[in-house]
């Protein structure tokens, strides 16, 4: 069953201009942060969304949890259109869709007890009374490895380390027993030594609740580890989407191949796919394929027509001249 279905999602941010510029030019400019993204996440499935910073992957996650309003496109939760739901109806849905943010130092209220961060969602949705909520929060704290829960309940965020804070953020998202969770770079600010532990914690929740997750990351090695499927994003579009093994071992898009070449490894590798220059300006995209200025294989066709995402459910890609390589 499809938990989340996204169709043609777009988010354009207007470019801030000075008063004089507005006066002399009528044309409004937009940063095309997300420019037509479609994907589905099935029940119990983990979809990794990979891409470099600024490619719009975080904006996709924020739109899914309702923090950003899409410029265009639809979001379906269990086949129900939730794109323009507001107020009480949105809140009902919100209970099933949670987010874990990247920065554990900024995502907790410095003046609120750790425990209250976890009881708050329960109280908002009227799931438990004050006492029940407190009991559930303590249980949840111990579940995420903050033992003894009673002690952690009464602490303030500044008394916790980064890893502990991220455990709190995970507890806050999971206490509602959501069906879909967006993990926005959930481990990228965590000390490397703790990353595996936090990832295992996330995976244990996935097993327990049969969770569906959108795992946003810039780290292919993490995506490879956790994802059932991978979506690779470049400049607001998905350029390659498919099952982990397919995408990692038989990359079709030169951008995916370049990312794979960039992953550090101890083994000697044959794969060396290059990448030129810097990311194009998201306000003024290049004609044709938006990757063409950086692609070592770009031909005339790539500068004229924009490729669509084509292929099967197992593996699809947006490239006129897909690669035919196998990576071990």
């Amino acid at each position: 069953m499809e938990i989340i279905k996204v169709e043609g999602l777009k988010k354009y941010f207007p470019v801030q201009k000075s008063f004089l510029e507005v006066l002399f030019s009528k044309e409004l400019q937009f940063i095309k942060a997300v420019d037509g993204v479609s994907f589905t996440v099935k029940k119990g499935e983990m979809l990794s969304l990979v891409g470099e910073s600024g490619c719009g992957k975080t904006t996709v996650g924020r739109m899914l949890v309702g923090l950003e309003e899409p410029t265009e496109g639809r979001i379906y939760f269990k086949e129900r259109d939730i794109t323009s739901l507001r107020g009480e109806k949105r809140r009902e849905i919100q209970r099933h869709i949670q987010i874990i943010f990247q920065d554990p130092y900024a995502s907790l209220n410095p003046r609120m007890k750790i425990g209250e961060h976890i009881t708050d969602p329960l109280l908002i949705h009227g799931i438990a009374t004050n006492e029940e909520a407190k009991r559930m929060a303590i249980e949840m704290l111990e579940r995420v490895g903050l033992v003894p829960g009673e002690q952690f309940y009464n602490r303030l965020p500044y008394q916790l380390s980064g890893g502990q804070r991220q455990r709190v953020a995970i507890a806050r998202a999971m206490v509602l027993k959501p069906e879909f969770v967006v993990a926005d770079e959930a481990v990228s600010m965590i000390d490397v030594s703790l990353r595996a532990a936090i990832l295992n914690l996330l995976m244990s929740f996935k097993e327990e609740y049969n969770l569906s997750m959108l795992f946003i990351t810039h780290d292919l090695s993490v995506a490879k580890l956790v994802g059932d499927r991978i979506a690779v994003m470049y400049l607001g579009k998905i350029v390659e989407l498919g099952e982990v093994n397919e995408v990692i071992h038989k990359p079709k898009h030169p951008y995916t191949a370049a990312l794979l070449s960039a992953v550090p490894s101890f083994e000697k590798r044959d794969l060396r796919v290059g990448i030129f220059g810097d990311v194009s300006n998201p306000i003024d995209l290049p004609p044709g394929c938006r990757y063409n200025p950086r692609c070592p294989f770009a031909k005339d066709e790539c500068r004229k027509a924009e490729p669509e995402l084509i292929g099967t459910d197992r593996h699809s890609f947006a490239c006129h001249y897909p690669l035919d390589i196998v990576v071990e």
Binding site: G66, F101, D103, R111, M112, I124, H125, A169, R172
Partner: protein
């Protein structure tokens, strides 16, 4: 040395050991002394502040510590009793302007838009007036009385709280923990109450003590012009004006002591405010 140790012992649990701490302690001592004067005026003051207590215009002596005024009343007793009105007016006015300015600033900053622009414009135009001038204008319209003085002074300081609260709210509402609360499904009221307001409290406290310091001067000015009390009620600002005609003839004690008290009390609150803002300086969590 012993005094300092004692003070440290008393204040350590309340005030963290950090920069600005000594300022806060000094300010608190001053305010505590004046508060003590106001509460126990009946016991401390040697004479009735409205009755004859010696030869008129006699200089400071053992009988009259700060001399007597032109009607033979004890200046020392008047200074002690005078603290009551200042403290009452200034505290209640500041509480009123805080409880108006903070919620309006919070709502205005949080929701933004046209409402915010309209409220900000009104507040800014009020803020453009020098505080004393605006207070005089309001007091003149309402007429002289203690209650009207409270109204006048509280109106004057509403924009101070509004601007501070609105500015802080603007920056707080885009912080990640507020977005996290929103993603969890929290409504606007809950976000304001549980996530934004608690992060404003320290700033409100700092602004509260600083604006009290300022309000003391405004109160003294209003009182000097006769907008608060009438004779024979003792009040520092009022006593300044009644002593003023006698200054050129050399009767300095009639205005020096009430004037010094105004200055010392304002200094006390300013020290607390400045010290606290140093204690809560950015970079120091909590």
């Amino acid at each position: 040395m012993q005094v300092k140790n004692l003070a440290t012992k008393i204040f350590r649990p309340i005030i963290p050991e950090a920069e600005g701490r000594n300022m806060v302690i000094a300010g608190m001592i001053i305010v505590a002394i004046v508060l003590f004067m106001a509460i126990f005026a009946d016991i401390i003051s040697p004479y009735d502040p409205t009755k004859l207590a010696g030869k008129p215009l006699s200089p400071p002596s053992a009988q009259n510590l700060m001399g007597t005024d032109n009607l033979g009343r004890d200046v020392f007793s008047r200074v002690i009793y005078g603290s009551r009105i200042v403290l009452m007016v200034v505290f209640s006015a500041s509480l009123v302007s805080m409880s108006i300015g903070v919620p309006i600033g919070l709502i205005s900053g949080y929701f933004g838009g046209k409402l915010d622009r309209a409220i900000s414009m009104i507040m800014d135009s009020m803020y453009a007036f020098p505080s004393l001038i605006l207070a005089i204008a309001i007091a003149a319209v309402l007429g002289p009385s203690v209650v009207n003085a409270v109204v006048a002074i509280s109106v004057v300081y509403v924009p101070t709280y509004f601007r501070m609260t609105r500015g802080q709210t603007l920056s707080l509402k885009s912080r990640l923990f507020v977005e996290a609360a929103r993603a969890a499904g929290a409504g606007n009221l809950r976000i304001m109450r549980r996530y934004i307001f608690p992060n404003l409290v320290t700033t409100v406290i700092v602004v509260f003590s600083l604006s009290i310091a300022d309000a003391i001067l405004t109160e003294a000015g209003l009182s000097f012009l006769g907008f608060i009390v009438t004779a024979p009620t003792p009040d520092w600002g009022f006593d300044l004006s009644s002593g003023r005609p006698y200054l050129p003839s050399g009767y300095w004690w009639m205005i020096t002591f009430p004037g010094a008290m105004v200055m010392i009390l304002a200094l006390g609150f300013a020290l607390i405010g400045e010290g606290l803002s140093e204690l809560y300086a950015p970079g120091r969590e909590r």
